[in-house]
């Protein structure tokens, strides 16, 4: 009954979205606020309906209702409750419902938002409603999660055990809020083109959505990467896998967007470009959905391998983005840039930032789609993997990072490059010294890795010096510095935090990639294996029973090879899930400062002496902590920026001006 209610709510939501689209269009053409208001109400109702549908699906999962095909295919009575619930979005149909939930909810927020000019708001609601209609139709007609089975099985086929993990349970909701958040930027951009009005006020509406979506996407991707790091059991955190690339594309476009939106908002320049990026970011989100769900790519994470659904998604992508880009091509030439600026200026630097971020996105796009295109056109099969991205993506981003710290030191309109470099000379000196020191100290000697460390330090120091400059730290009395720090807009703090976070990430990525050491050995009980400065002893192996798995659990002692420092015990498991017949590994992780000592239990075997033995793989991942800390800082920076009063509705420069007048 509740499942039928969910199915009904899904259809109702679709109908309401269609209604919203029609009424918003009508209300806009007739300029009738009442009808436009009704469209907003329809969007809200559509969102509420999909909340009901989603709750019904979760209910089916919680009660293990195996008469529902989706539940039978993806759940199991033995699963812990947390993963039964998370299982609702751990599959194609359920995750698509989540996508629709976020899409309609953001449409409702857009409809409820105040302060947007009538035309812009109504057009944006109309576009968002059309997007909702397309995705809801796709969910209702090709991927309905509420389809019943004629004969309900006694037991479900269970969720892929790899996905039974806390990080992966909350990864999709965050990721989808990020992906789909860009739909609002998309709708606002198309609305601006329809209204032929792209101005700083528009920039101020787009920027918070871009910022929030980007920050959520950062956390989502970071969690996914962390999951891959400790769940797949081979110590990697980024594989340039097509599906990873698919999530990275909107991230790069979003990063470019939130920077260009600053220029549009503050200076009224780059308006056309910001519109373009707004369309592009959500286009990449939809492209990602298509790539993951259509089965055109082979990947560790591929979702539903179904060409028919793929064709539908491709059609949605083609219609939505195609229409938006055609509109852009027609209207963009009329968008006049408001302001001019010298090449050396804050705007100029942000243009450079966009040049590099966009080129980086093109690189990732090429690397992801080229094998497909080449095979389709010539039949030749190639692989594009890490070596390609290291050779093309990394140098482009490295140049961008070298330029980055100078940006915040330049004034708007016309900057003083010499002055900026002068104020950054100590940061540069320290970064170069750091790189030199790293080259001498790290073993083996790697010039490129040392340069990467210098680059990371340069970003961190650049951010610190920028805040120091603005608060006159060390040059003014402490009280004065603190006062200036308090008065520094949150946007400035957020920017510094995010830029430093990028530096922290680079430090971690470079050191981990350049200097990790791994070793593998078949160990009998009390056997030892060493990697880098660490050694691990296999103390005991037990068979333990989990809620829906059996595991061989090894208890291992991690200690420094030279005997200094404390010993720590970690457990690593090899889990066997009888429901699906799969085996997974639970990595034993010993956090040592910034380093990880990473232990994986492998198969059981026998040594030559006939003793029982287990293959133990040991990784020393130096500074691995920073790889995940960096993105967290970047997302936090985005969040801090988002809290800046200048971004809050009704608190723009106008509000401040009024306050001053009143005072």
């Amino acid at each position: 009954m509740i499942v039928e209610l969910g199915s009904f709510a899904l259809i109702l939501s679709l109908v309401l979205s269609v209604l919203g689209a029609v009424m918003a269009t009508w209300g806009r053409i007739q300029r009738r606020p009442v009808i436009a208001g009704a469209a907003s109400a329809a969007m809200l109702a559509s969102a509420l309906a999909i909340v009901v549908a989603f709750a019904a699906l979760v209910f089916a999962y919680v009660t293990s209702d195996f008469s529902v095909a989706n539940v039978a295919a993806n759940s199991h009575t033995d699963k812990p409750m947390f993963y039964k619930i998370a299982g609702a979005w751990g599959n194609h149909e359920g995750s698509l419902l989540l996508w629709c939930l976020v899409l309609t909810a953001f449409g409702a927020v857009l409809g409820l938002s105040r302060g947007l000019p009538f035309g812009l708001k109504t057009s944006a609601v109309a576009v968002q409603a059309v997007l909702s209609t397309m995705f809801l139709s796709f969910a209702a007609f090709t991927s309905n999660p509420f389809n019943r089975l004629l004969e309900a099985p006694v037991q479900g086929r269970s969720l892929n055990p790899l996905l039974q993990d806390p990080a992966l349970a909350i990864h999709p909701p965050l990721l989808y809020m990020g992906y789909v958040g860009f739909s609002v930027c998309f709708s606002l951009a198309v609305a601006a083109l329809i209204e032929k009005r792209v101005d700083p006020a528009w920039g101020r509406w787009v920027r918070p959505w871009a910022l929030a979506s980007w920050a959520l996407l950062t956390v989502g991707i970071g969690l996914g990467s962390f999951w891959a790091y400790y769940e797949l059991g081979w110590g990697g955190w980024w594989f340039w896998d097509p599906v990873e690339n698919a999530s990275f594309l909107p991230w790069l476009a979003g990063a470019a967007l939130l920077h260009s939106a600053i220029v549009t908002e503050r200076r009224g320049a780059l308006a056309g470009w910001t519109v373009f990026l707004s369309i592009l970011a959500f286009t990449f989100s939809m492209l990602g959905a298509f790539l993951v769900r259509s089965g055109v790519l082979t990947s560790v994470h591929a979702f539903a391998v179904d060409p028919e659904r793929g064709m539908m998604l491709l059609a949605i992508l083609g219609i939505a983005s195609g229409a938006a880009f055609v509109l852009f091509a027609l209207r963009a030439p009329a968008i006049r840039s408001m302001a001019t600026f010298a090449p050396v200026s804050r705007e100029g630097m942000l243009v450079l930032n966009n040049l590099f971020l966009t080129t980086a996105a093109v690189t990732v796009l090429l690397g992801t789609l080229y094998p497909l295109l080449l095979e389709a056109t010539t039949g030749a099969t190639i692989s594009v993997g890490p070596p390609y991205f290291n050779a093309v993506f990394a140098p482009l981003m490295a140049v961008a990072c070298v330029i980055l710290p100078a940006g915040p030191f330049l004034a708007w309109k016309r900057g003083d490059l010499k002055g900026a470099l002068q104020r950054l000379r100590f940061a540069a000196l320290l970064a170069v010294a750091g790189a030199g020191l790293a080259f001498v100290l790290f073993d083996p000697k790697k010039a490129l890795a040392a340069a990467g460390i210098g680059l990371g330090l340069w970003l961190i120091l650049g951010a610190i010096f920028e805040v120091a400059e603005r608060t006159r730290a060390m040059r003014a009395p402490l009280a004065e510095t603190l006062r200036r720090g308090r008065n520094l807009p949150l946007g400035a703090w957020g920017m510094a935090l995010a830029h430093a976070g990028l530096g922290v990430f680079i430090l971690g990525a470079v050191v981990e990639t350049g200097f990790k050491v791994e070793a593998a050995r078949a160990l009998p009980l009390k056997g030892e294996v060493a990697a880098g400065p660490w050694k691990v002893r296999l103390d005991e192996v037990n068979i333990v029973e989990g809620p829906n798995y059996l595991a061989e659990q090894g208890k291992l002692t991690v200690a420094r090879a030279d005997g200094r420092g404390r010993e720590k015990t970690v457990t690593a498991e090899r889990r066997f899930f009888p429901a699906g017949g799969q085996t997974t590994t639970e990595v034993g992780l010993d956090f040592r400062g910034l380093d990880d000592v990473y232990v994986v239990m492998g198969e059981r075997g026998q040594t030559e002496a006939g003793e029982q033995s287990w293959v133990v793989r040991l990784y020393w991942n130096p500074w691995a902590r920073l790889i995940f800390l960096g993105p967290l800082m970047m997302a936090l920076g985005g969040l801090v920026s988002l809290l800046d009063r200048r971004l809050r509705v009704g608190a723009g420069p106008g509000a401040r001006r009024r306050k001053e007048v009143g005072a």
């Binding site: 081979w234 093109v362 190639i382 692989s383 482009l396 009888p578 608190a651």
Partner: protein
């Protein structure tokens, strides 16, 4: 009872899988540290041909272990990295290397991003140079437009 049963099941499964396919033991690293380092470097570039998007360095599959052994063997025989790559491409096709080949068909892939960065950068630079850096003060029309902006801005702020 259930526990006994499942443990028995596990034991049976371990036994049967062990019979079906000998467990993949750890690799035997090459004695020469420099050669072993070369081998590991190569492993990251070679795709496991039955896996989805994994290098043989990471893959637990049996064929990846075989390929690693093959590469180590060839290194021990004194073959160059280039020769080993060529041999792999001869056996499995271009697909086996994560580094795409550099030829006419892949020119756009390899050079496209750099050409785009340089081309767009040059175009932007030329445009910036053409534009007069000294902007005249706002003309009347622009002033009027600016006033309109500020007014619209205030209105949007008030709502």
């Amino acid at each position: 009872m259930r526990r006994m049963l499942t443990l028995g099941l596990l034991a049976a499964l371990v036994a049967t899988t062990a019979l079906a396919e000998p467990a993949v033991g750890p690799d035997r690293p090459l004695a020469d540290a420099a050669q072993e380092a070369r081998a590991r470097e190569l492993f990251t570039d070679i795709r496991c041909v039955v896996c989805q998007h994994e290098a043989i360095a990471d893959s637990p599959a049996a064929i990846a272990a075989d390929m690693r052994a093959l590469v180590r063997e060839q290194i021990a025989e004194g073959q160059s990295d280039e020769a080993i790559r060529r041999d792999l491409v001869r056996r499995y096709g271009d697909y086996v290397l994560f580094t795409p080949p550099f030829r006419w068909g892949t020119l756009v892939l390899w050079l496209g991003p750099f050409l785009l960065a340089i081309g767009a950068g040059t175009a932007l630079f030329m445009r910036a140079r053409r534009r007069k850096p000294e902007e005249a003060a706002l003309d009347e029309r622009e002033e009027a437009e600016l006033d309109a902006w500020i007014k619209a801005d205030d209105e949007s702020g008030q709502a």
